[in-house]
Symmetry: C2
C-alpha cells in the first residue's frame, strides 16, 4: 500500500539501502531515489533494485514527500542545511541517527516537518552490499516526536516503520539518549576497549565467548566516534557507573570475598537470563513507555 509518492534517501549504506529495499518491496512509494557520495554505492543500489534513480547531488530529491537522512550522526548534522534547500516545506523528514537529542534539536529548526527515528537494527557490517529488505523485521524503532511534531506526519512515519516490520515506540529525545547510552553505547565502548586490552599474540586462544563479546567491536569506528561524542554526557556517566561496578567485582576478588563475588555474578546472570537470546537485532515484546 502506497504511503508516499517519492522517497528520497540520503546515504546508501546498510540502513539507507535496507530501507530503500524494504520500501520498494512493500511498494510503499511510487519512486525511491538515493543520494550518496559514492558512485559505486548508487550503482549497486540501482542494480539491487533498491532505488529507481541515484545521484551524488541533492537535486534528485526535489519534490520528495518523504526524505530520510541515513548517514552517520555528524554527517546528518552537516548535510541538513544543504538538503533542506532541495525540498519543499511539506516534505516529511526523518533520520536514522543513533543519538537523538542533538539531532532532533538541530533538525527541528531546519526542517518544517521533522521527526527523529532510530531503528534498533543493523549489525557490525556496513555498506549497501549488506543491505536487505528484511533488516527491520521484528526489530524496534524508536521515534522521538516533540511538541512541534505534526500528528499526521508522525502517523505516516509510524506506519512506514510498521509496514517494513518494526514495532515503534515514542520516546523523548533526551530519554532516548540516556537509555541508549546503557543498552548500546556502553556495550560498544566496552567491546572496543576489551579488544584494545587483549594482546595480539593471545588472539589465537579466542573462544566463542570472546568472539561474541566483541562482535560489535567490528563496527565502523568513524560512525561510533560520532555517536559517542554526540551522546558525550550520558556516555561518560554510564562509563563511570560501569567502572564503579567493575571495581566492586575487582575488590571482591582482591579480598577473596567468595560470597560477595558469587552474589554479584548471580544477580548479573539472572538479569541476563531475562533477555531472550537472539543474535543481531530483535526484541522481547517491547511495551511503549
Amino acid at each position: 500500500m502506497k504511503l508516499f509518492n517519492k522517497v528520497g534517501i540520503v546515504g546508501m549504506g546498510l540502513i539507507g539501502g535496507s530501507l530503500a529495499l524494504a520500501i520498494k518491496k512493500r511498494q510503499l512509494a511510487d519512486e525511491v531515489v538515493g543520494v550518496s557520495r559514492h558512485k559505486k554505492s548508487l550503482l549497486l543500489a540501482k542494480k539491487m533494485g533498491a532505488i529507481d534513480k541515484g545521484s551524488q547531488e541533492f537535486d534528485i530529491i526535489k519534490n520528495a514527500d518523504l526524505l530520510i537522512l541515513s548517514t552517520p550522526v555528524n554527517t546528518i548534522l552537516k548535510l541538513a542545511p544543504k538538503v533542506s534547500k532541495a525540498i519543499t516545506k511539506d516534505c516529511i523528514v526523518t533520520d536514522v541517527g543513533s543519538t537523538k537529542k542533538e539531532i532532533v534539536s538541530s533538525l527541528g529548526k531546519i526542517f518544517f516537518n521533522y521527526i527523529g527515528s532510530h531503528p534498533l537494527a543493523g549489525s557490525e557490517k556496513r555498506g549497501i552490499i549488506n543491505a536487505r529488505a528484511a533488516l527491520f523485521k521484528n526489530s524496534l524503532c524508536i521515534l522521538t516526536p516533540t511538541k512541534k511534531t505534526n500528528t499526521l506526519a508522525l502517523k505516516k512515519i509510524e506506519s512506514l516503520w510498521n509496514k517494513i516490520g518494526a514495532k515503534t515506540i515514542l520516546l523523548n529525545p533526551s530519554v532516548h539518549d540516556k537509555i541508549l547510552s546503557f543498552t548500546s553505547h556502553l556495550p560498544h565502548l566496552i567491546a572496543f576497549s576489551l579488544m584494545d586490552t587483549i594482546p595480539r599474540k593471545y588472539l589465537r586462544f579466542a573462544s566463542g565467548g570472546l568472539k561474541d563479546a566483541t562482535r560489535i567491536a567490528s563496527s565502523d569506528n568513524r560512525l561510533w566516534t560520532d555517536i559517542l561524542l554526540s551522546n558525550r554526557k550520558n556516555v561518560i556517566k554510564t562509563v563511570d557507573l560501569f567502572q564503579d561496578n567493575l571495581s566492586k567485582i575487582k575488590f571482591a576478588i582482591i579480598r577473596k570475598n567468595r560470597k560477595l563475588l558469587n552474589n554479584i555474578l548471580k544477580q548479573a546472570k539472572n538479569k541476563r537470563n531475562g533477555l531472550s537470546y537472539k543474535s543481531s537485532a530483535g526484541l522481547n515484546f517491547p511495551q511503549p513507555c
Copy 2:
C-alpha cells in the same frame, strides 16, 4: 580405536557428559563410568549412552586406566585427595579445569601420573542435558605438562583430545593462566559487570549487540566465582589494564578528542577483524607456542 580399558569421569556436567559421549562414540575405551553427586545426572548420562555405569561413590572408578576430573575448579581441588584413594598409581589422571597453575601444582602432588587439560569448548549452558559428542570438534585443548609428566601418558592424553576433534597445544600452567585471564576471564567478568550496570527497566531496549556482548553473563556464577578466585592475581592485573584502557577512551570523549577516539576505536576494530566470527567455541588454526 581403543586408547583405554576403563575411563572414569568425575562430574557429569556439560564437559564431563560430552567427553563421555565422545569417548563412547569414537570407541576409545571398553568401559566409561561416571561419578556425580546428582543421581539424576547419572541416570540421564546412562540413558544418553554416555556412560556404562554411574555411581555417587568413588568405588566405581577402581581399576580405571584414565580418570578425568570434570567439576568446577574448587571441587577438583577438594575431591582430588579422596579420588586418589580409589585408583591405582598407573592410572593416568587429567582434569578440565579452566585455571591451571593452582590445580597442576596441587594435583601433581596427589596423583602419580597427572597432566592438566583445558578444553576451550563449552558454552554458557550447563549440565548433562546440554552435553553432545561433537562439543570438542574444531576446538582447542590446552595441555599443561610439567617436568614430572610421563611422556607416554602425555601422548595418550593428546591422542584422546585429537580423536574427539580438538587440536592440542602445550603451555606452561602459569602462561596458560596469564593468557586465559585476557581471553576468557576478563570477557566474562566484563559481561557480568555490564549486566550489573544496565537498569532492569531498560532491558527491553536490548538489541542484538548487547545480547551477543553479554551471552557469557549467563554462565554459571559458582563456576565463575571459582575461576576468578583461582586466577586472582592475573585477573586483577588484567582488569587494571582494561580499566586504564577504558579510562583512555573516556578521557578522549571528555576532551572531545575526535582524532584520538577514532584512532583507538579503529585499532580495536582492526584487531577484532582478525578474529574470524564463529559463535560458541572454535578457533582460527592455532599454532603451538
